[in-house]
């Protein structure tokens, strides 16, 4: 904001006339010259404030019209909340499946243990020849029964443990969903940093900071009910139907 030679000349003229007004004791004249001098400073200040205001206005307008911001606010934030709710529901379901399987398994293990203990006692009595024929016949029946139920019980235990195993698949599903939300949070963070820079002086919107849209990536991650709509299969049966329509 270099002052032009004309302005400097004007100021010199005013300064000289101020001196002459003061020397001649003309107070009113001196005050009017001082006001005129201050006017120069004020108009420069207003120009500078005006320029800054316009820059800030443009920068904020550019920021607001950034399509990515609008997309984050309108779609991705609500989607992120929905995704996280789905994570809660999925982990809850997995926890309940696991707890249910464990609750079913513990009595099975307990009954195997108590039956084995009872038979072990009888077997010890048999080996020390404390059983008569009638007792032995009973032990023999109990043993046959135990061997049959053990097969059934261990098979059920195996199934329950497999349920627990499969239920852990939630970690993969929720992990993929949470990764997406983390990407969004990082995106929002960088936009906020940009906003903070804009609100400071001399800020310019950074060029090329557009984040990679999720749509550019071939993998979409797990479908979240209520968020991912459109051309999504509904379970394995749909996949099988689609593949068989393709000749599989």
């Amino acid at each position: 904001m270099a002052e032009s030679a004309v302005q400097i000349d004007d100021k010199l003229q005013l300064a000289k006339s101020l001196v002459s007004h003061l020397e001649s004791g003309d107070d009113d004249g001196a005050v009017s010259v001082i006001a005129e001098l201050a006017g120069f400073r004020d108009s420069l200040l207003f120009q500078e404030v005006g320029r800054l205001t316009r820059e800030l206005h443009d920068a904020i307008n550019g920021f607001v019209t950034d399509a990515r911001i609008a997309d984050i606010a309108q779609n991705e934030m609500p989607n992120a909340a929905e995704r996280l709710r789905y994570v809660i529901a999925t982990t809850e379901q997995a926890a309940n499946t696991t707890l249910g399987a464990v609750e079913d398994s513990l009595p099975l293990a307990d009954s195997l243990r108590s039956d084995a203990r009872h038979l072990g006692d009888q077997w010890a009595r048999f080996k020390s020849r404390q059983l008569n024929v009638e007792d032995f016949r009973e032990l023999s029946n109990e043993l046959s029964h135990f061997l049959d139920t053990t097969q059934a019980t261990t098979e059920e235990l195996h199934n329950k443990l497999s349920e627990v195993l499969l239920a852990q698949g939630y970690q993969d599903i929720t992990g993929q969903i949470i990764r997406k939300v983390i990407d969004l949070v990082n995106d929002v963070e960088s936009k906020l940093v940009e906003l903070i820079r804009l609100s400071g002086h001399r800020a310019k919107p950074a060029e090329g900071t557009e984040s990679v849209s999720a749509k550019d990536i071939a993998a979409h991650g797990p479908a979240v009910p209520g968020v991912d709509t459109g051309d999504i299969v509904n379970g394995q049966d749909d996949v099988d139907d689609l593949l068989s329509s393709l000749g599989f």
Binding site: L166, Q176, A219, H220, P222, A223, V233, Q236
Partner: protein, 128 residues
């Protein structure tokens, strides 16, 4: 079906690899190895004598669909049966996998029964 065949399980989540490995063991397949994405898997496939590939789709590095394409483009590997086990459930993705030459497609979450059925189906076709 040779229960001793060498199987490669590819998934970036170690929990899912463990689940699949355990389910396979339950089905009698004990000769399994693991990789965490396509970039690790491809050299393993090229240097090892794997007879079956089970892969996820969404992985960092090289994605499962690209691994599948790389396998089909490799003269030594192109006949390898490939089963995709993935959370990717868009129709166009399943079509893309089919066009790339996948042998089976299982969407997560899945059941032990589904996995067994798809594996049996793949090897029935391979044998036929």
């Amino acid at each position: 079906m040779n229960k001793n065949m060498k199987i490669l399980i590819v998934d970036d989540f170690s929990t899912m690899r463990r689940i699949i490995k355990n389910l396979l063991r339950d089905l009698g397949f004990t000769n399994t190895q693991e990789a965490d994405d396509g970039l690790t898997a491809l050299p393993m496939l090229q240097s090892g004598s794997f007879e079956f590939l089970i892969t996820d789709w969404n992985m960092p590095g090289m994605q499962g669909i690209d691994l599948l394409k790389a396998v089909r483009a490799d003269d030594k590997l192109k006949g390898l049966p490939v089963l995709m086990v993935t959370a990717e459930s868009k129709r166009d993705q399943i079509v893309e996998a089919a066009q790339a030459g996948v042998n089976g497609y299982v969407v997560k979450p899945f059941t032990a029964g589904t996995l067994e059925e798809k594996i049996n189906k793949i090897f029935e076709r391979v044998a036929a």
